[in-house]
């Protein structure tokens, strides 16, 4: 278990059940995902069985149990994005990155997450890579953007 998890837990002394989700969110923000060890440690801290914690964590879309890629891509699949062709954007991303939605590419470079709505509907379809937004996407632009990140990596 990473020391980071301990650091997070230290910030929640005498925490109750209502701190569970914030704790998991903090750990995921640091580690990028929830490891088995982290979940068990949280369970010991909150005096809850690990199964309960997995129950909560798997319920929410935000939590992942697999390490994310170096570049984490969020693809908006909201209504406005759908109407404007976000499915083909997602397909193009999967092809360019070499991994499916919810997965991390074999080289560990990219991971793709489908999100319900980023809230930038006026600029649909939208994707966000490590927090940076790209508006009005299409498959050609996907190729350029991903090639850009690959270029950055090999440079």
């Amino acid at each position: 278990m990473s020391t980071q998890v301990n650091e997070v837990l230290k910030q929640y002394p005498n925490a109750g059940r209502d701190s569970l989700i914030p704790i998991l969110q903090d750990i995921q923000e640091l580690d990028g995902y929830l490891s088995r060890e982290a979940v068990i440690a949280v369970g010991e801290h909150l005096n809850l069985p690990a199964s309960k914690i997995f129950g909560v964590a798997t319920f929410y879309n935000q939590f992942t149990f697999e390490a994310q890629g170096k570049f984490h891509i969020q693809v908006c699949r909201g209504t406005a994005c759908h109407v404007k062709g976000s499915l083909s954007v997602l397909e193009a991303l999967e092809k360019e990155c070499g991994c499916g939605a919810g997965k991390t590419s074999a080289d560990g470079l990219f991971s793709i997450e489908v999100v319900a709505c980023i809230g930038a509907c006026g600029l649909a379809p939208v994707i966000s890579i490590n927090g940076e937004f790209y508006a009005a996407m299409d498959s050609t632009k996907v190729k350029e953007v991903i090639a850009g990140y690959r270029g950055k990596e090999s440079a």
Partner: protein, 650 residues
């Protein structure tokens, strides 16, 4: 300019102390400071850059960098302020420039490469017309001759901005600007009122929940006020989960203190000393802005113990949503705050009697809270004079989809849908035909052309099988397939179903399967059973929808069949075309398209035959090829690879 010092209450400097006094109506000797803070009087060029999430997506970050380097390069002393978005998504990024003594000018599509021209224009007074959206009307300033006004622009002319009034013109990180503009006066006023009177005032105003349900806010408060308990809670639902809605994000990013003041008013009215804001994690900027706002309110003594010496205590805590659509439902949201799976429970007991940690709890939406300060300041009668008989005030709509001017639109209740789409939104993109508009997200419904003249309020929408929801308006044109739209929503709903009750968990999945079958090529049916399943699905889909609607536990399940019921009601012919003719009239369901190779145009290069994943294309070199439709899975690969455009789609 007033110092940006908000360290602690007693550390406020004299000016801020005086400014705080204005909340209680004491304006003595502060005219100059207020004029500066509200930008009635600026002493140097002031540039407002819209860096909300959508502005950033459109490139506002680069614009901001460029503006700063421009000012540095030319050694110009100016104020550059990051603001939330005005709601003009279609022309993002937007910036506003106010030169001393002149009106403020809004610039559209101000990307980094146009910054120099805009800034040169502002400094020389010779502003390039094509970059201008309009000037903001202000009689106390000198206007630019011949320049159009923002309020005359068709996007703005019909709008009445109350909730969004400050968005884009106030610095969301500064409480002093909010106070100088009249902020927190409503909070100060209610602290001197009886709690029951506050509830009564809100009830009298006719304000109804803006999250979609439309329950009278004052009524909900009264229930909670009258419930006996040692502790009560106020909760703000900022989990804006409806895909296609982003007004709450805009309010929190652009004017966080407005939400905070609304929450404080509500908390006082029901006697809650603790309030939670359940804010979705997908909105990192909104979280940051609201955290900052809470800190400042503490420093100014507007939160914490014994607020303004009245003995009223209030703490506001942010809870980050973890991405579950069902958490928009109030009992699910409460479970989520408690650290449990966000599953709804049967009501009663209603949260106003037994909610968070078993205590009386009121859950209201961001937009509902954002209306409160105005109601208290201007009175219930003023608010009730806006809107229709049963729906008062304004409503913010998020206009998106195949429309020319996407963005945030705030209009009085009762505005005709046609006006919103064709006047404000500027009609359909690329001169295509309007087909329908989806209102209220996955729980809402589609409104077709023949009902475009409907005057939107809570009741009128129900008559056409839709609902207000949170106010997302996604416009669809003739290229949008309504069966595909219904399928999209079903896919969303069945993934977001919490799984607690069977009608919703199983029913939504079955409905999705039925829609998938009718939008799929029959080549994919390998057995008679599958064909039979398709038939049965078509026969039972309406009945299944009714059962889910009648028997689901919570609002999510009860409204889950709405996309299917409303598209079936208005676009039945499209379903029939998919079922009987195996055609998608809009050409959106790829799998139903038929492919043919034109014998004249085919050069016999064989590339399509080589690339076809199922070997459905036959032909010899330099001879026209043919597609065996029995094998074709309509993947479209042949079209993509053909260099001679010989493959035709029907």
């Amino acid at each position: 300019m007033i110092a940006k010092d908000t360290k602690c209450r007693h550390g406020l400097d004299k000016v801020n102390d005086k400014l705080l006094a204005t909340i209680n109506g004491d304006n003595a000797g502060l005219a100059d400071e207020i004029a500066a803070l509200t930008r009635k009087k600026v002493t140097k060029p002031t540039i407002l850059v819209g860096t909300g999430t959508c502005g950033l997506a459109a490139g506002a970050g680069a614009t901001l960098t460029k503006i700063n380097s421009y000012l540095e390069g030319k050694k110009i002393d100016a104020d550059v302020i990051e603001v939330g978005c005005v709601g003009l998504c279609a022309v993002e990024p937007t910036i506003e420039v106010q030169m001393p003594g002149k009106t403020r000018v809004t610039f559209q599509k101000a990307t980094a490469d146009t910054v120099e021209a805009i800034m040169d224009g502002c400094m020389s007074g010779n502003i390039p017309a094509e970059t201008v959206f309009g000037q903001v009307r202000d009689d106390s300033q000198e206007s630019y001759a011949g320049m159009p006004y923002v309020d005359e622009h068709p996007f703005m002319a019909m709008q009445q901005r109350l909730v969004l009034a400050n968005c884009g013109s106030i610095d969301p990180t500064r409480i002093d600007e909010y106070i100088a503009g009249g902020g927190y006066q409503a909070f100060a006023k209610v602290l001197k009122m009886e709690r029951a009177d506050v509830c009564e005032e809100v009830l009298k105003s006719g304000l109804r929940g803006r999250g979609g349900g439309g329950f009278p806010t004052g009524q909900k408060w009264k229930f909670a006020l009258n419930a006996e308990a040692s502790q009560k809670y106020m909760v703000c639902n900022a989990d804006e989960g409806d895909p296609g809605a982003f007004m709450d994000r805009a309010v929190i990013e652009g004017d966080p203190h407005k939400l905070l003041e609304g929450m404080a008013i509500g908390a006082y009215a029901i006697g809650a000393t603790k309030a939670y804001c359940y804010l979705r994690a997908e909105y990192p900027l909104a979280i940051e802005r609201f955290e900052e706002a809470i800190k400042q309110a503490h420093a100014w003594g507007l939160l914490g113990k014994n607020i303004m010496g009245t003995g009223f205590d209030l703490e506001i805590v942010i809870k980050k949503g973890a991405g579950a659509f069902v958490c928009g439902e109030e009992t699910a949201l409460i479970h989520s705050i408690e650290g449990k799976r966000g599953m709804p429970r049967p009501r009663p007991p209603f949260p106003a009697i037994s909610g968070l940690f078993g205590k009386p709890t009121v859950v209201n939406n961001v937009e509902t809270f954002a209306n409160l300060a105005n109601i208290i300041n201007k009175g219930a009668n003023w608010f009730a004079s806006i809107g229709t008989d049963n729906s008062k005030g304004t409503k913010v709509f998020a206009l998106s989809g195949k429309i020319n001017r996407t963005g945030l639109v705030e209009v009085p209740m009762g505005t005709a849908l046609r006006d919103i789409i064709f006047n404000i939104g500027g009609g359909i993109q690329n001169d295509r035909q309007f087909k329908g508009v989806q209102i209220g997200g996955p729980s809402g419904g589609c409104i077709p052309t023949q009902h475009l003249d409907i005057e939107i309020d809570y009741e009128s929408l129900k008559t056409v099988g839709a609902m207000m929801g949170s106010g997302g308006l996604v416009v669809m044109d003739e290229d949008t397939c309504m069966v595909d739209v219904a399928k999209f929503f079903m896919d969303f709903i069945q993934r977001e179903s919490c799984g607690k009750c069977i009608p919703c968990r199983e029913g939504t999945r079955r409905m999705l399967e039925i829609l998938e079958r009718i939008t799929h090529n029959r080549g994919s049916e390998s057995t008679d059973e599958e064909t039979l399943a398709r038939f049965k699905g078509i026969m039972y889909i309406e009945r299944l929808a009714e059962v889910i609607k009648d028997t689901s536990l919570c609002g999510l399940g009860q409204t889950a069949p709405n996309p299917i019921l409303s598209t079936l009601r208005w676009f039945r012919d499209e379903y029939e075309a998919h079922i009987y003719d195996r055609k998608c009239p809009a050409g959106a369901c790829k799998s139903l398209l038929t492919y043919e190779i034109s014998a004249e145009e085919c050069k016999g290069c064989t590339i399509c035959a080589k690339k076809c994943p199922v070997g459905a294309i036959e032909g010899s070199v330099k001879e026209p090829h043919v597609i065996n439709m029995d094998k074709c899975i309509a993947c479209g690969t042949c079209i993509d690879v053909c260099k001679f455009n010989a493959v035709k789609v029907g």
